[in-house]
Each structure stands twice: as C-alpha cells, then as structure tokens.
C-alpha cells in the first residue's frame, strides 16, 4: 500500500523538491568563505559581552561597550564575542553560554545583570566576570557586601561629572535657578543629583536647584511626555538650564528646551543632535574606557575582583566640549571648569555621592 501511494507522480514531485533542497543545502555546507570566523580555539584572550535590552545601536550604553570591545580587539588582540539577548529569560542564558565555554572574561552591560552575574560568578569560579553599573548589595547596616573574587563591578563616579556640568549650568545660565530632572527615583540617579547640586553651589552659593523625578518605576526612564511637562514648568519658573539623568524621558526635556528657547544638558552619550543649539553639553560616561580597561587587566594579569570606580581621573566620566557647543561656553568658563576638574582629581574638592 505504501509503495502504491508513493508511486504517484505528484507525490514524487514533492519528495524530489525536498531532496533537491537538501542536496543544495548539503553542497552549501562545504562552502567556507574567506574571512569566516574559524572555530574557537583555546589560546588567546576570549571575551564575551552581553548587551542590555537596548542592544547595539542605542547610541549610548550598549554602543559604548561595543566600542570598548572593538578597541580591545584591535589593540590587545582579544577575540570578542557579542550577544544580544533581548527579553528577560535569555539574559541569564547569554551569560551562561559564554561562561560554559570557559571564556577569559564575560561582561554584562547594565545593572540589570546584577543578580545573574552574581550567581554565575559563584558557579564558575574559573571564569572572570565584569558588570557595568553593577548594583552592589548592602547588608542591614548599609555596608557593602563583598563580591566574589572573580567578579569586578565597573562603577562610575557620576557625581564628579555631574559636579562639572552643575558648575557649567550655574556659570552660563544667567539665572539663580537651575534645574535637574531624574528618571527613576533611585540611589543611582541620586548620585547625579548630589554631584550636580554640589557643582552649582560651589560656583554660586545663593543659587537654588529645582530637582524633580519622573517616577518610581523603570517606566520613569521611558516617559518623554512627563519629561517635557516637568521641564516646561521649571523653565516657566525661571530656570534657564536643565540637566537630565532620565533615559528617553530626557527627550522630552530637549523638546521643552527648544520650545522655551532655553538650554538642556544631556547624559551618558553626546546628545547634541537631539536638539542642536539647545544642548549646552552632555555629561558622558566612558563605558568604552571601562570595558577596555577590564579586558586589558585580564590580558596584563592584573584582574581583581571587587568594585572598580571610574571617575574624572580615569577618564570614566566627563562632559562634551567640541565644535558644536564651543559657542555656548565662554572661554573664561571653560578655564574655570578645567581648574575645578584638576581640583577634583587632586582631591582638593570631594564631591558627595548621596543627597
């Protein structure tokens, strides 16, 4: 009976089609284009980078990590493998994939990896891990809990960069009122606010800072409408410059600046293009530098577990000063900022990191 059914010509057509496709597939398996990545070897430096939800092309966080990885590939000869896990449950899977292959260094990009990286570092003591913006847990007294010896937390002294843009805002705004808009009301963002306020007060003792937050959930980083609403009201109160640390909520701040013919300060990456002419500067985080340094430390054999801080001295934070915004910043102000920067690096000014 089986033979009878299969003997029908049309049935043979279908089977022949499948056969032909499989034959093509079989032939293509033998094609090895020039420049194709060879199978992984055990020699050399293998580095894996797992991106945050935004993934490549976010022009900020993840792209910064990618830049650092690419620099390490060129300068240090590291073989860097990137994974974009996308949604939640694949985050752990991405890290695990690299750890299971005994990579020399596995880097998670973003505080969202904190729990996963912590678990995996204990599980794979032979693999080194790094996490950008890792949220260090504290015990009941507020003292930080120790990290596993194979895990390094890449943290930034955002308050130092915020201090400088705070001083800049007060020196150029021409108003005694200066604005700050945070995204989610959490300690990480309080760091920005604390440094910013200190910077403003340092150069203008009688200035006031109006600080507001968009919300208490992660949604507060994705709410441009709220950002615009808060900033419009600040500009109406006489504020001339607003610094935002609010993710895409900040896009609303730029829009308000344009509408009010006032200035805004960007965050993380150079955000000049969001509103050309209305962006005084951006406080940037050197994710690329931190990632590069972490990879370099593995290569040099100086890798250490624990918290690594990247501040002004390590070029881990800073602000943008280039052809785009030079006209907005007078030379005297630039000189003053350079002096402040030197003072912070030398320890003559200590910037607070909490409110």
């Amino acid at each position: 009976m089986r033979a009878l059914v299969l003997s029908y010509r049309p049935m043979r057509t279908v089977l022949a089609a499948i056969g032909a496709l499989l034959a093509v597939h079989g032939a293509l398996l033998f094609v090895h284009p020039d420049g194709a990545t060879p199978d992984a070897t055990t020699e050399g430096l293998d580095v894996g980078i797992v991106f945050d939800v935004g993934g490549r092309g976010d022009k900020s966080f993840n792209d910064g990590a990618w830049l650092g990885g690419e620099r390490a590939a060129k300068a240090l000869g590291a073989r860097v493998r990137y994974i974009e896990p996308g949604e939640g449950s694949d985050r752990e899977a991405g890290l695990r994939l690299l750890a299971a292959e005994e990579f020399d260094l596995v880097i998670g990009v973003g505080f969202i990896f904190t729990d996963d990286v912590n678990t995996l570092a204990r599980e794979y003591p032979g693999v080194r891990f790094a996490d950008v913006d890792y949220a260090v847990a504290t015990d009941s007294t507020g003292a930080p809990l120790p990290l596993p010896p194979n895990l390094t937390a890449l943290k930034f002294r955002e308050e130092q960069g915020a201090f400088l843009v705070g001083a800049l805002a007060a020196l150029t705004g021409g108003s005694k009122k200066v604005g700050f808009i945070g995204g989610m009301d959490i300690p990480l963002i309080h760091k920005f606010e604390a440094g910013y306020k200190a910077g403003v007060r340092h150069v203008c003792a009688d200035c006031t800072v109006i600080a507001q937050y968009a919300g208490v959930t992660p949604e507060a980083f994705r709410n441009p409408g709220k950002g615009k609403e808060l900033s419009l009201s600040q500009y109406q109160q006489g504020v001339r410059v607003i610094f935002h640390a609010a993710g895409s909520t900040g896009l609303g701040v730029f829009e308000a600046a344009r509408a009010s013919n006032a200035l805004a300060i960007g965050v993380d990456a150079d955000q000049y293009d969001e509103a050309p002419g209305y962006v005084l500067t951006s406080m940037v985080k050197g994710i690329d530098q931190a990632v590069f340094d972490a990879i370099k430390s593995v290569k040099d054999g100086t890798f250490q577990g624990g918290v690594r801080q990247f501040g002004l001295a390590e070029k881990g934070v800073g602000y943008v000063y280039d052809a785009n915004n030079r006209s907005l910043i007078p030379d005297s102000v630039r000189t003053r900022l350079l002096a402040l920067e030197a003072d912070i690096i030398a320890g003559r000014i200590v910037v607070p990191s909490t409110r």
């Binding site: 049309p10 398996l29 284009p33 990545t37 994974i83 896990p85 996308g86 449950s89 695990r96 992660p218």
Partner: protein, 360 residues
C-alpha cells in the same frame, strides 16, 4: 476511511512542514554566506548550543513548554474555525493569576496541593479572557480576531499598570516571590540540566497535548467542535449549537494559553514579571500552523521553534540574531504556501486509484 486515504491524510499533514524545513535550511545557508560565514560552522554551533549539551537541551525544553501551550491554544480555537490572536495576553494573565495565588497561599503549603491550585488559577484566568471573546462572537457576532487583538492591548496595559503601581518589588517590574506552588526544575532530579530553566511544567504541557488530542478526536464534544470548524451551518443543521461550541472552544483555548504562564512563574523565576510573555503567545500561531493544528504536531513544532530561538543565542557571535527571526518567518511562509500546493497535488493524483483501492 481506507488505510490508503489515511496515509494520504498523514502525508498531506507531514509533507508541508518538511518542505518548509528544507527551504529554511537553504535560505539559512544563503543568509549565513551573505554574512561571510561558513554555513557548516554556524549550523554546527546552532546544534551544539541546543541539542548538543544538556544545558542547551534544557533551554529548548523550557521554551518548547510555553510554545506547546500557546500552540495548543491557537489550535483549539482553530479547530472550531476561530482565530485566537489573544494568546499573548491570556498567557500573561495566566502567569499573573498563578503568581497571585502563589503569593496568597501560606508558605509551606505542600506542593501537591499548591501547584494544582496555582495551575487551576492560571488556566481559569486564561479561560476567562478567551471566553469573553468567544461569548462576544456567539452573542453579537463580533469578530474574534478583532476582539482578541484589542483584548491584548487592554489586558497587557492593565497588567502593566497593576504590577507597576500595586504589586512590584521596588526598583523592579516584578512581584515578590511566590510563597507556595513552585515547581521543581529538571536539574533538581538530573544535575546535568544544571542552570537551565527547564522544569516539570514540561509534563503539564505534554499532558495538555494528550488531553487536547483525546478531546478533539475521541469525544463527542471534540467532534462537535471540529464539525463547527469545518462548516458551522451544516453543524447547526445537524443539531449542534455553534454559538455554544465557539464559547467552549475559546474557553479551552484561553485555558491552554494560561497554563503556559505557569512555566515561567511557577517553574523558572517564581514571580510574575511584566512582559515575560515576550511574544511567545504570537509565536504560538506559527507553532500551530507548522504543527498543522494537531496536538502532537504542535509538540514537535514547538521543539523546532524553541530550537531556533535558543540556537539564535548560540550563533549570535557569528551572525546577527535576526537571522533566526528570518528563518522562523521562512518556515511559516513556506508552510502557508506548501499546504494548499500539496493538497492540490494529492487531489489531482488520488481520485483514479487510491480512492477506489480496496479498504485494507
């Protein structure tokens, strides 16, 4: 039905997915070559990262568990002639219901009591969401396609609000961990699966597939459901009340999707996280399509899509993950094209000999 015709029916069901798979392999080869990589290396990595080690295989099983549930959800409605696009929100709702019950139960409730209660809550919540669409269809003739699409928006937004404002742990978008109702992971029994999210809800999904098969093909209710799906007017004429069948089908469909939510909530993270469904509800449509709306086909097809999804991570180093999305789409389109083609070929071939062949 003669054995010849039966075999013909099996072939008509099995051949299109095979064609689709072959097409996808070749398209995959070409895409990989376009990225300057060797197909053998990339496919080798994909297999190694999925079926090649216990961890990867566990991840495949985990993803297949959810997809089996959402695939069955689509098939259950599909067999009744309905198009349930709402599995995404029914899945999420089921997950939240399981988490809420797990939170409400006192800690230390024995799993034998807690798990069934949580599962029942998940299926009940999914069924309620599906049932609304079924009832609107039966009572007012409202298109279940439109209704389920729109219910997705409403339900997911409501869940997001609920979690973000009422239920979440500070600085996160998930609820606290459930106190009871957690399902053991496979790695608790077989350490080789260590680290993978695969858990014993797997058995729940398989049981659901068997139950769905038995209901559809071995009970009067299932016969009525399929009769309405094939030709509602004829079924009505034969004494079946199509409206009631539609409501029943959507209730069952929603319940299947709701069960899928327990895989993440009870089996993996032990809390409900906003957005955990992450498209598994929509992918269920593809799973059911490739599985030809047959419960056992759906299990196999869920394994295929789970392999692609996990494999995408494994080959991410060499080629963009989107390649896997493209392959999934190629499989879906190929099946959609191959089904009528194969049926046509068979129809042309069969009349003369097979239909008159003596029943064996």
């Amino acid at each position: 039905m003669s054995r010849g015709m039966q075999r013909e029916a099996v072939l008509a069901a099995v051949l299109p997915p095979l064609v689709a798979l072959a097409v996808a392999l070749v398209v995959g080869d070409l895409l990989i070559l376009a990225f300057g990589q060797a197909p053998a290396t990339v496919f080798g990595m994909l297999l190694q990262g999925t079926w090649g080690n216990a961890y990867g295989f566990g991840q495949v099983l985990y993803k297949a568990t959810t997809l089996t549930c959402t695939g069955l959800a689509f098939a259950m409605a599909g067999r009744a002639g309905l198009f349930n696009v709402g599995a995404e929100s029914q899945l999420a709702l089921g997950g939240l219901a399981a988490a809420l019950v797990g939170l409400a139960l006192p800690a230390g409730t024995p799993p034998l009591a807690a798990v069934p209660v949580c599962v029942a809550a998940a299926m009940g919540a999914g069924a309620a969401a599906g049932g609304v669409a079924g009832w609107l269809r039966a009572r007012f003739g409202a298109s279940e396609v439109i209704v389920t699409i729109m219910l997705n928006f409403i339900t997911l937004a409501a869940l997001n609000w609920l979690v973000a404002t009422r239920l979440h742990v500070p600085e996160s978008l998930h609820t606290p961990e459930i106190r009871a109702g957690a399902v053991a992971r496979l790695s608790d029994t077989w350490p080789a699966f260590h680290g993978s999210a695969a858990n014993f809800m797997l058995i729940g999904a398989l049981a659901l597939a068997v139950a769905a098969w038995w209901f559809l093909f071995r009970t009067r209710g299932g016969y009525e459901l399929r009769a309405v799906g094939l030709q509602p007017d004829a079924a009505e004429f034969g004494g079946i009340r199509a409206g009631r069948v539609w409501i029943l089908a959507m209730l069952l469909s929603g319940a299947c999707a709701g069960l899928g939510g327990t895989n993440y909530v009870l089996g993996y993270k032990h809390y409900y996280e906003d957005g955990f469904a992450a498209g598994a509800g929509f992918l269920g449509i593809a799973v059911a399509l490739v599985g030809r709306n047959h419960p056992f086909g759906i299990v196999i097809s869920a394994l295929l899509f789970a392999t692609l999804s996990q494999g995408g991570l494994a080959v991410n180093a060499l080629v963009p993950k989107q390649i896997v999305d493209i392959l999934q789409a190629v499989v879906i389109i190929s099946v959609a094209v191959a089904v009528p083609e194969v049926r046509q070929l068979l129809r042309n071939a069969v009349p003369a000999r097979a239909r008159s062949a003596t029943p064996a």
